[in-house]
Symmetry: C2
Subunit: 332 residues, 2 copies
């Protein structure tokens, strides 16, 4: 990939060109080298979009809710990014369940960018790939990025650290299994939504959640509101949008945004270091004779992999002469 | 933790002491230092247990199926480990849904070790924590380790690489969302199970899966059988156990076990290297003045985190003098 192509893509993406955004995301997913360049180039352009996490068990109507919310934001001219991490999502073009709900007009709207992570990303990589997509969207003239996850405890997507506002969606009558799922995600909600509000049991579910929320009130300094919606009709979506605005205001007023930002920078630096190690340094190490020599010892059972790793990296560090190290610290 | 305590724990664990196993797992989960020692000490003791992955959507009856299978293995004296990664699992003591199915006798059986990963492990760590638990059980006089996951695409648990035999469970009438989930896990099944076989639609589901399986036959060299079970009554469990035995035999006869083993050693060394970097090297780096200096540049926006990471690790590598490096390669 010529440098000029990448720069042209970056330029077009930051102006909101959907094709360029799409291309950048694919490049970042598939090429470690390009990824570093893209994320590095876009870094200071990001931080303008408001990231909303929407999480809840399959079947609670998240996708329809997101479609409604996106349309509300669109009606005031905002540009929207939707990242579906939930593999059951109906948002992503609706290939699987599209005939049930019409998402067509959302997908064809040039002010909306939709990306599904479900089919992509091998194990171990989805959390990072999702972060990358959110960062790229954030730098691409998008006002709101909505990230959809199932919010199941085992998911490695930490939507809470990605999002400014995390919305936990549930619905009445999802069965025991779903109630169990709920347990793990109660703590992360800034806003709770009981969808399928036209269901007979909706009010009971509202009460149940309300009573749980009260207990964790002090931990937050923000009392998470519980909002009833019926996404299929659009009922309650305006109230949800207003709650998001209030939470955003609260974050600003309480100084949490600033504090979160410094923490994020440190975390970003640490994450980038881990990734550089895995993507670049480790590749170099694997090609070294040193690695092959240790690998042989593992294969012949002279060393276990953990001890071999210690030898590998201890040496790596030990070969840094102390005097030179010190000189570097003071001179540069 | 004194070295003697650790060694006594390791010794007792390898003899199958449940308390010692439990202690070791907790230590490995919470202390990077102890983890390295434990995994390293146990490494050559592992590889004897047969690891079975059981995956399928919530509500398909995995937990009951696992309980049945475990009891079958127990009846011939085998020792069983069960690792529940699925947060909706009923296996893990049944705190949530235990009153529906009695797992009590399984949990109190000294020949069965049950560990739930659901509530543990912050994001990013569950996949690795699960691997560690499997490795520790594998080294602890356990004959069969059964790993239960939801098999949802977004889960970072790559059950296929952990397990010798992967069983994909489904059930008739789980709804559209569940059908969608199924799509992602069809490829990983060595054996398919249609549970709730007493349901009217069970045979149709059997046919559906059978037709999918035929297509991917050549990719495997093993035609995954489709087995109908009714876990609540125990119907079909013997057939399932026999299918696992046959698959195990196939792996051995086809030489796949050996090939898998070499690949696993390389992967284990690479993984151990990544972990050593994250757990030990990175901690040392973070405490260095070099890191702080670069962090300041990130905070003052002179560098983005990705470029800072490159500076950090490039320097790290550059400080390795070539001559000394070469000498090390030839002398040791």
């Amino acid at each position: 990939l010529p440098r000029s192509t990448l720069e042209s893509l970056l330029q077009r993406a930051t102006k909101g060109n959907r094709r360029a955004i799409s291309r950048l995301i694919s490049l970042a997913e598939n090429h470690a080298d390009a990824r570093m360049k893209i994320l590095s180039s876009l870094y200071w352009k990001a931080g303008k979009a408001y990231v909303i996490g929407i999480t809840g068990p399959p079947g609670c109507g998240k996708s329809t809710l997101i479609a409604r919310l996106a349309k509300q934001y669109r009606s005031t001219g905002s540009r929207i990014g939707i990242v579906a991490v939930d593999p059951t999502s109906q948002i992503s073009g609706g290939a699987l369940l599209g005939d049930r709900i019409r998402m067509g007009d959302l997908a064809s709207d040039p002010g909306v960018f939709i990306r599904s992570m479900a089919s992509r990303g091998q194990s171990g990589g989805i959390a990072r790939a999702t972060e990358d997509v959110v960062r790229i969207l954030d730098a691409s003239a998008i006002d709101y990025v909505i990230v959809e996850t199932t919010g199941v405890g085992q998911s490695d997507i930490d939507v809470k650290t990605l999002a400014r506002t995390t919305i936990v969606v549930t619905a009445p009558g999802l069965g025991d299994e779903i109630q169990a799922l709920k347990a793990g995600i109660m703590e992360i909600g800034d806003i709770f939504v009981v969808n399928k509000g036209d269901n007979d049991n909706a009010d009971r579910t509202m009460q149940e959640i309300n009573s749980t929320v009260v207990m964790s009130e002090e931990n937050h300094g923000w009392r998470p509101p519980v909002i009833k919606t019926t996404a299929t009709t659009g009922e309650g979506i305006t109230a949800l949008k207003e709650a998001i605005r209030q939470h955003s205001q609260y974050l600003q007023d309480s100084g949490k945004v600033e504090r979160k930002r410094t923490g994020e920078l440190r975390r970003a630096f640490l994450d980038a270091t881990k990734r550089y190690f895995e993507d670049v340094t480790l590749t170099q190490i694997v090609l070294s004779r040193r690695f092959e020599r240790l690998m042989k010892k593992v294969e012949t059972r002279q060393l276990d992999p953990y001890t071999a790793a210690r030898h590998l990296l201890q040496g790596f560090r030990g070969q840094m002469p102390a005097s030179k190290h010190k000189r570097n610290l003071t001179t540069s």
